[in-house]
């Protein structure tokens, strides 16, 4: 695109356009051959009919008015011939009596529209009809090939003109179409180049979402949207991961320093080592949660899905969490309903429900009533964990799904900040959703999962 010449070369019709033009040319040539063959045969048929009529007329002249009149008739016709007519009247012995054919060719005998080569001053191949008169003289009426030649010439000229028109129009159209395609491809390529250069916000303009390029641009934009979302997510995750690992590692370092301190008693050392040990567990738990989220988000865990009674699973998890909910001064009630069988990733779903209950235990506060409910709603199963605690302000609810987000850093409880991110990933894996609603008062977390897993 640097020089005008380069730009023009870029515009040159592609092989595809050239091929299309050649195809059109070949098709018109074939059409012309067909026209030529049918047209030629029509002309020949007509000439033959004319020649026969003329012969009959001249034979009648001979019959009614005698040979002398025939001779003059033939001579006159030969003189005024304009459309390639040829005549010859020969005596029984073959001597020319009248007409422009001066030599009796052997091929004339009994000819009924036969192509005969005539010699003499003007050699040519002509079609002839020969009749023998009652007195023995022979009348030859013929047509040379000038009409056919004229027809051929006009066909050729027509073809040349058509060729020229198609070629010129084809290449002009090719240039125009190319220019338009290039314009839009350039817009898409430019976007890709801007992305490659680091500008993730670049998008391709969509002129008309229904035409092919609009479709490409629209899906490209959707893809870029998703990539940007993932990249931003990834950046947040790595930043937070670095930040999140720093504190347990710092605590671990402190604990180990305490254990190494010369004046420490055996009991203090053990305490310090146990502290370091639990920090390592914390780091490992964070890592495995990250891995589980990543696997669930990419759908890799799909092969682990199997039919499970979700109501029974929720009951088990609720039973497991009852002691800590009770220790937090809260009460737990269950409304499980009938068995709800679904194709689920059991371990992940267990984890997700556990995280919701655990969140309630930690954040709902003393005196809150926690309820867990399982309902089958058409094609999906809805698991609700609701509390009557402090709730979460509306403006924070959207952020809660994200990884490492802890709404109240002052109330840090040592969690990884990954709890709801796991629930969200679980919902996504099961083609469902997690919504956080106001329970008035309190928070209601609704995990909806698809019963018949469509995508396998």
């Amino acid at each position: 695109m640097a020089s005008p010449l380069g730009h023009l070369r870029r515009l040159a019709p592609t092989t595809f356009v050239t091929l299309a033009v050649l195809l059109v040319l070949a098709a018109s040539a074939a059409a012309l051959v067909v026209v030529y063959r049918t047209g030629g045969s029509i002309i020949t048929q007509r000439e033959r009919a004319e020649a026969l009529a003329e012969r009959d007329l001249l034979a009648e002249v001979d019959q009614e008015q005698g040979l002398a009149t025939l001779v003059s008739s033939v001579a006159r016709r030969a003189r005024f011939s304009a459309g390639g007519e040829r005549y010859g009247l020969f005596s029984e012995s073959g001597a020319p009596l009248a007409g422009d054919l001066m030599r009796y060719e052997p091929g004339f005998t009994d000819a009924d529209w036969r192509l005969v080569r005539v010699h003499g001053t003007d050699p040519a191949s002509i079609h002839v009809v020969t009749t023998v008169m009652p007195d023995g003289s022979r009348l030859v009426v013929g047509r040379d090939r000038s009409n056919i030649r004229r027809f051929e010439r006009s066909i050729l000229e027509g073809f040349a003109a058509a060729f020229l028109i198609v070629a010129v129009a084809g290449f002009v159209a090719g240039y125009i179409v190319n220019a338009r395609i290039l314009q839009r491809v350039d817009a898409i390529a430019l976007t890709a180049e801007r992305i490659a250069a680091g500008d993730l916000s670049a998008r391709t303009p969509v002129a008309n979402p229904n035409d092919p390029f609009g479709r490409v641009a629209a899906s490209l934009n959707a893809m870029l949207e998703r990539i940007e979302e993932l990249m931003t997510g990834m950046r947040t995750v790595t930043d937070s991961l670095a930040h999140d690992l720093r504190s347990p590692l710092t605590r671990m370092k402190g604990a180990l320093a305490r254990a190494l301190y010369d004046g420490a008693t055996e009991a203090e050392r053990l305490d310090a080592i146990e502290d370091a040990h639990s920090q390592v567990d914390h780091v490992l738990a964070t890592f495995s949660a990250m891995l589980d989220i990543a696997r669930a988000e990419t759908g890799l865990s799909r092969e682990m899905m199997q039919p499970v009674d979700v109501a029974a699973l929720v009951e088990e998890v609720a039973d497991f969490f009852t002691p800590i909910i009770e220790d937090a001064g809260q009460s737990l009630s269950e409304d499980l309903g009938a068995p709800a069988i679904a194709l689920v990733h059991e371990a992940l779903l267990r984890q997700a429900i556990g995280n919701l209950l655990h969140n309630a235990a930690i954040y709902a506060g003393e005196g809150a009533a926690v309820t867990v409910k399982v309902e089958t709603l058409g094609p999906s199963i809805q698991i609700t964990v609701a509390d009557t605690g402090h709730g979460v302000p509306r403006e924070h609810r959207g952020r809660m799904h994200e990884r490492f987000v802890r709404l109240d850093p002052a109330r840090g409880t040592g969690g990884s900040g990954l709890g709801l991110a796991i629930v969200t990933a679980c919902a996504k894996l099961h083609d469902g959703t997690l919504s956080l609603e106001d329970n008035g008062p309190g928070l209601r977390a609704v995990l909806q999962i698809s019963r018949s897993h469509a995508r396998v």
């Binding site: 738990a285 495995s288 092969e303 682990m304 009852t322 002691p323 990884s416």
Partner: protein, 227 residues
């Protein structure tokens, strides 16, 4: 406890660490670093347990386990792996492993699980009554007594105590409880197990002179008469 253990692990450091620990604990350890050798040894000679790494040269650990099970070898197998996804544990157990432990692990965790595996195989007889000191659990009537007095346990406490009674005098780690009692894979807030234990302990030991449920620092718990 003693026994003959086959360790199939290609990483020399891990193998030395595990083999040394097991020998100190009284086990006889055979160590090979290749999957095929492991398969050959495990199928040709009798072991009390096999510790099998997943990523092995020659033949991967899961294939060895599948081959052994297909060949009718019923030795308990503990699978070791650096793959920590919850999916990996399930696929390890589906292949025929009896337990699954993720690297990095503490030796006490491995030791506790290994003893649990070996003992589980030994105790094939169907027991209807479990005992420890003066605690008696009747599995049929689902009643528990201590010194003849009935203990009023919730079903989840019954389940937990049953697990302890079946592993009497052995170390039980938090993750073993999580996985084997509640089928829960990982708990970032391990205090939940402590909560369950302290509730059980309150009903089991409060008011009796000898405590039975002991906490072992940094390792787990043990149910035994001896402190």
């Amino acid at each position: 406890m003693s026994g003959r253990v086959l360790l199939v692990e290609d990483d020399a450091d891990t193998a030395d660490y595990v083999a040394k620990g097991l020998r100190e604990a009284g086990f006889t350890v055979e160590h090979v670093g290749d999957g095929r050798d492991g398969l050959y040894l495990a199928s040709s000679s009798a072991f009390d347990a096999v510790i099998m790494d997943r990523m092995l040269p020659g033949m991967d650990g899961l294939s060895v386990v599948k081959a052994l099970r297909a060949g009718g070898v019923e030795t308990p197998i503990l699978i070791l792996s650096a793959l920590a996804h919850m999916d990996e544990r399930v696929s390890g157990l589906r292949a025929g492993g009896d337990d699954y432990l993720t690297k990095p692990f503490g030796f006490s965790e491995l030791h506790a699980r290994l003893e649990n595996l070996i003992r589980r195989r030994g105790g094939k007889a169907v027991e209807t009554v479990l005992r420890c000191a003066d605690v008696v659990m009747d599995l049929l009537s689902r009643k528990v007594t201590r010194s003849g007095k009935a203990l009023d346990l919730l079903p989840r406490e019954f389940k937990l105590l049953e697990y302890f009674l079946r592993n009497k005098d052995r170390v039980v780690t938090r993750t073993m409880l999580l996985e084997q009692v509640w089928d829960y894979r990982f708990d970032p807030h391990t205090s939940i197990i402590d909560t369950h234990i302290s509730r059980l302990r309150k009903k089991l030991d409060d008011g009796y002179p000898t405590p039975l449920l002991h906490t072992l620092r940094g390792v787990g718990y043990r149910l035994s008469e001896a402190p």
